[in-house]
């Protein structure tokens, strides 16, 4: 042991003076040789120096042996040597190195980034206690066209009382409120009202202060838990905020605690109530007077009892649904055609669901790019290895062992992989930063994703595996060749058929793979351009919009609300450069308000659902929603003097087909509801709404009914805490740039109510952009991938052909010497490349026809067999291939026969 340590110390010291060590070895040998030579000369031997050397043996080999003795780890020295050799070689061929390292870096980097996203979004558990047992419940009446809706209050109470499959049930809903009080300006924030048992079920506790008490979710408990981010931002992380009051919609709430920094609740993803809250307050439904079939705005999370399966729970929910509907108001009860259903699905699936497919698609695309990159690198290394065969043959002849050769062969790819991998980490970081916020906001779990260490390990493994595999291919192909063959190649060049076949296969593969990617990118581009240019039924240009929410405490009566509504429209219309202005309960691309309605002349008992928007001012003119029949509301109707409605084309087609809709009457609710009959005065175009965020931009337009804002029942407006008539959107049609008007609009709002929290002001065009941001992002990403693939393919082709040319220089020289025209030589070379490309395209075509199946659900108004894409892609690919082939082909045609024939 001591001797070993002693040796290690000497070795380590030697390692640091490696150069001097070598010199000393050389000196020692030289000294010996000099002494021997002198001795031989003295004894009269002729040619003493040569004899001395012969007696000594191979100085080079002995030096090598000694060097090995000094190795810290015997093989490490030769590895370092090989690496040094590889570095030198790589530095000499800078272009090759750059291409390979960049290819690897891009492949590995993009792969790491995408995998980090997949990991964060799809694979990471929810972070809630026993997350796998949590279900998200919702209601629905599929037969009436309502696929899903959040829970009604009475229905929830029934569920809480009777359901046996769950050991805990929590509920919550989102609200956008005005936060004021204290020194800071008022602001609009998202809050979540939650039942007291929700956070205990999720296993979430405040980091500071106390949780909600079990009875605090009954009316009359105005307490609040702050989110960490808001606490830091608005209250400077001051613990003394606990016990103080904050104003939510101008109503005081006592702060009882601060939630932990990593809590994001509600989580994004589900259809309803999926805006992370800044503040949480109790949802006052316990012990409250609740009705069946009312509200429909509460989300429910339930935890399966241990041992109860999802199908069992679903079976119980089916039974409960019938019981719940039996308690409904008579008009909604027991109608076989419109059965109420209760649905349950794993919370994880609900949160991840919608984004799963696009993200997996991204993963597929990136896997293709990585494959192409690997194939390409393999190809480049093969060419390089072939060029080095002579050298390797020489090494074999000089007695290099197989192991040593393998090591030599692997050192270069390993070095390249290491460099590519390191650079790839940076690429991945950059790529993750490049995810637009608008996209990150819409994808649950994506916010603030960083490189995952396990992903990094995976990628490191991947790059090493790539390197080793790639490094072994040339080794495997050379295996069978005898040393003498290799050495003889110096004079008679044989074209290694086997290697050529491998390389050609690789080129064909990359062409086929990139064809598939290009088709994907083409389809996405077509789909995106269809999305951008789709007729949304409204004109976003020149429209500025903002959200305004009036706090009930400051506007408790209908008179106050009317005063604000009328004054705001008047002020907006009076602004310079404003042509039209309107207030409405929602805007196109929003539209989450749904109600059921009855047509006077319709089938008895039929109460189909419809979107519902209340408007004031010139809503249709401002947003460019065309009138197809009749007219828009008159000022008298806007003032509430007649009970009227405007319907969209869809509604007229579906429910008043073959009739003149004008003059027909409808009412909200069922036939026996207390709502008044509304006379239809006009029909307008179908404007896109945004219930399903993006998909609906192109989806079949929903039935939509508009009425004057003033028709909102006064009773509803006067109900304590009501948002009726208070949750408003303003829109103005401007001359020229809409965004330039943002300041004036805000000033007008402040002029009416200085305390009003500044709402987000955005042009309608920005809202459209935001809505299609995920599509734009995935289109951009896949387009970048495809462009990368195209680049890789051309590099691969260029590399292969370039090598073929240099290998066949002699043959080409002979052809030229025998009088072949240079352009014929050029054509020969291009043909060689294009034959491979042709095969690749043919294979890619077939694969793409099948693979586009996975895209269908993501394409908007684009066929998966889109002819334009399937025609354009081969043309683009072929064009790029020709260019990639032309450069080496040109070089071939300029071979000087004399130089070529003289050979090496």
């Amino acid at each position: 042991m001591r001797a070993w340590l002693h040796g290690l110390r000497l070795r380590v010291v030697a390692l640091f003076r490696g150069h001097r060590r070598d010199q000393e070895l050389q000196d020692e040998i030289a000294f010996h040789l000099a002494m021997r030579e002198a001795q031989l000369r003295d004894s009269g031997t002729a040619d003493a120096a040569r004899h001395a050397r012969r007696r000594f043996g191979s100085a080079a080999r002995i030096r090598e042996e000694m060097r090995d003795e000094w190795a810290v780890l015997p093989s490490l020295v030769s590895l370092l040597q090989d690496c040094r050799y590889a570095v030198r070689g790589l530095r000499r061929s800078g272009a090759f190195t750059t291409v390979v390292v960049l290819t690897l870096a891009l492949g590995i980097g993009a792969n790491t980034a995408v995998f980090s996203i997949v990991n964060a979004v799809l694979l990471r558990p929810l972070g809630f206690a026993e997350g796998e047992r949590l279900l998200l419940l919702h209601e629905g009446v599929p037969a009436a066209g309502i696929d899903r809706v959040a829970f009604a209050y009475g229905d929830l109470a029934h569920l809480r009382r009777d359901a046996r499959s769950f050991d805990a049930i929590g509920s919550f809903r989102n609200r956008s409120v005005e936060l004021s009080g204290g020194a800071s300006d008022p602001e609009r924030i998202q809050i979540a009202q939650v039942s007291a048992d929700l956070f205990p079920m999720l296993g979430v506790r405040p980091g500071l202060g106390r949780p909600f008490r079990p009875d605090e979710d009954s009316p009359g408990h105005d307490v609040a838990l702050l989110g960490w981010e808001l606490w830091q931002r608005r209250y400077a992380g001051d613990p003394a905020v606990i016990g103080r009051a904050i104003l939510l919609d101008r109503r005081p709430y006592t702060v009882i605690g601060v939630m932990p920094a990593d809590l994001q609740f509600p989580r994004r993803g589900p259809q309803f109530n999926s805006q992370p809250g800044d503040v949480w307050v109790p949802l006052p439904l316990r012990n409250a007077q609740v009705e069946y079939a009312s509200g429909f705005d509460v989300s429910v999370i339930a935890r399966l009892k241990p041992g109860v399966t999802l199908p069992q729970a679903r079976a119980e929910l089916d039974l409960l649904a019938a019981q719940v509907q039996a308690q409904y108001p008579p008009a909604l009860r027991n109608r076989s055609r419109a059965r109420l259903l209760l649905f349950a699905s794993p919370l994880h699936d609900e949160i991840v669901g919608a984004v799963g497919t696009p993200i997996l698609l991204l993963l597929g695309a990136i896997a293709l790019v990585l494959l192409i990159a690997c194939a390409n690198i393999a190809n480049l290394l093969l060419s390089r290895a072939a060029a080095r065969q002579h050298e390797i043959g020489l090494r074999v002849a000089l007695g290099a062992t197989r192991l040593r050769l393998l090591q030599l062969q692997l050192s270069e790819p390993l070095l390249l992989a290491a460099a590519g991998g390191l650079l790839g980490v940076f690429v991945a970081r950059l790529a993750l930063r490049a995810v637009p916020t608008a996209v990150a906001e819409q994808i649950p779990g994506l916010h603030g994703v960083d490189i995952d260490l396990r992903v990094l390990a995976f990628t490191a493994g991947l790059s090493i595996a790539t390197a080793v595999t790639v490094g072994l291919i040339p080794f495997a192909t050379r295996e069978r060749r005898r040393v003498s063959d290799v050495l003889q190649e110096g004079t008679i060049r044989t074209t290694g058929r086997r290697r050529h076949r491998v390389q050609s296969t690789l080129v064909v593969t990359t062409v086929a793979l990139s064809f598939v990617l290009l088709v994907g990118a083409g389809l996405f581009l077509r789909s995106f351009s269809a999305l951008v240019n789709s007729d949304r039924g409204f004109r976003p240009a020149g429209v500025l919009t903002a959200a305004v929410v009036l706090p009930w405490e400051a506007y408790p009566t209908a008179d106050r609300v009317y005063w604000f509504q009328d004054s705001l429209v008047r002020r907006l219309e009076a602004l310079p450069r404003v042509r039209r202005a309107a207030l409405s309960s929602d805007l196109p691309l929003e539209g989450t308000t749904v109600g059921i309605f009855t047509i006077e002349a319709g089938v008895d008992g039929a109460a189909p659902p419809s979107r519902h928007t209340s408007v004031l001012g010139s809503y249709f003119e401002t947003l460019g929603i065309g009138v197809t029949r009749g007219r828009t509301f008159t000022p008298e109707e806007m003032a509430g003097e007649r009970q009227v409605a405007i319907v969209n084309d869809k509604m007229a087609q579906r429910y008043l087909a073959g009739q003149d809709p004008i003059g027909k009457r409808l009412k909200w609710g069922t036939r026996d509801s207390r709502s008044p009959w509304l006379t239809i005065v006009g029909v307008v175009e179908d404007a896109a709404d945004g219930r399903q965020a993006v998909a609906t931009l192109g989806d079949e337009r929903p039935v939509h009914i508009y009425e004057p804002l003033r028709q909102t029942p006064v009773r509803a407006i006067n109900t304590r805490g009501s948002l009726a008539g208070r949750d408003l959107r303003l829109s103005v049609l401007t001359e020229g740039d809409a965004s330039a008007l943002a300041r004036s609009v805000q000033q007008e709002l402040a002029g009416l109510d200085g305390q009003l929290a500044l709402a987000r002001v955005a042009t309608m065009e920005a809202r459209v952009d935001e809505m299609i941001a995920p599509q734009r992002f995935s289109t951009q990403v896949i387009a970048i991938f495809a462009a990368g693939a195209l680049l890789l393919v051309s590099i691969g082709l260029y590399g292969l052909l370039g090598f073929v040319v240099s290998e066949r220089t002699q043959e080409i020289g002979v052809r030229l010497a025998l009088g072949a025209e240079p352009h014929l030589v050029r054509r020969l070379m291009v043909k060689h490349g294009l034959r491979l490309v042709g095969v690749g395209i043919a294979i890619g075509f077939i694969v793409a026809l099948g693979a586009t199946r996975w895209l269908t659900s993501l394409l908007y108004e684009t066929q998966r067999y889109d002819p334009l894409t399937f025609i354009a892609v081969p043309i683009v690919l072929a064009a790029v291939a020709i260019i990639a082939c032309l450069i080496p082909a040109h070089r071939a045609s300029r071979v000087d026969p004399l130089v070529a024939l003289r050979g090496d």
Partner: protein, 112 residues
């Protein structure tokens, strides 16, 4: 190449013993050691003189020899080797082992 290695392996133990033995009379550089061994046993270095050097370095690394650069008799820089205390101990042990083995062999031979 393979057969060369084998004979070198066989020789190695002997060669190392010879080196240690040679150095009992004081420090020497490689050439001197080669000459001494040559005189003592022509066979050990019959393959090639160079083989001496890896063996010297191996012994140095194992701490049996201590090496230092110095100026030789003819005024050239040379690397001198001498026995370390461990080297002496090892020489004693191996010599004893050798003696015992050869005694045993002799007895066997005598018994025949």
């Amino acid at each position: 190449m393979g057969t060369e290695l084998k004979s070198a392996d066989l020789l190695q133990g002997t060669l190392e013993l010879l080196i240690l033995r040679t150095l009992t009379s004081g420090e020497k550089h490689g050439y001197e050691i080669a000459e001494w061994i040559h005189a003592a046993s022509a066979a050990a270095l019959s393959v090639e003189e160079g083989a001496l050097y890896p063996a010297l370095h191996r012994l140095e690394l194992r701490g049996l020899l201590v090496a230092a650069w110095d100026v030789s008799a003819n005024n050239r820089r040379a690397k001198y080797y001498r026995l370390s205390p461990e080297g002496r101990k090892r020489l004693r042990q191996t010599t004893d082992a050798w003696r015992r083995t050869s005694t045993a062999i002799n007895r066997v031979l005598e018994a025949v």
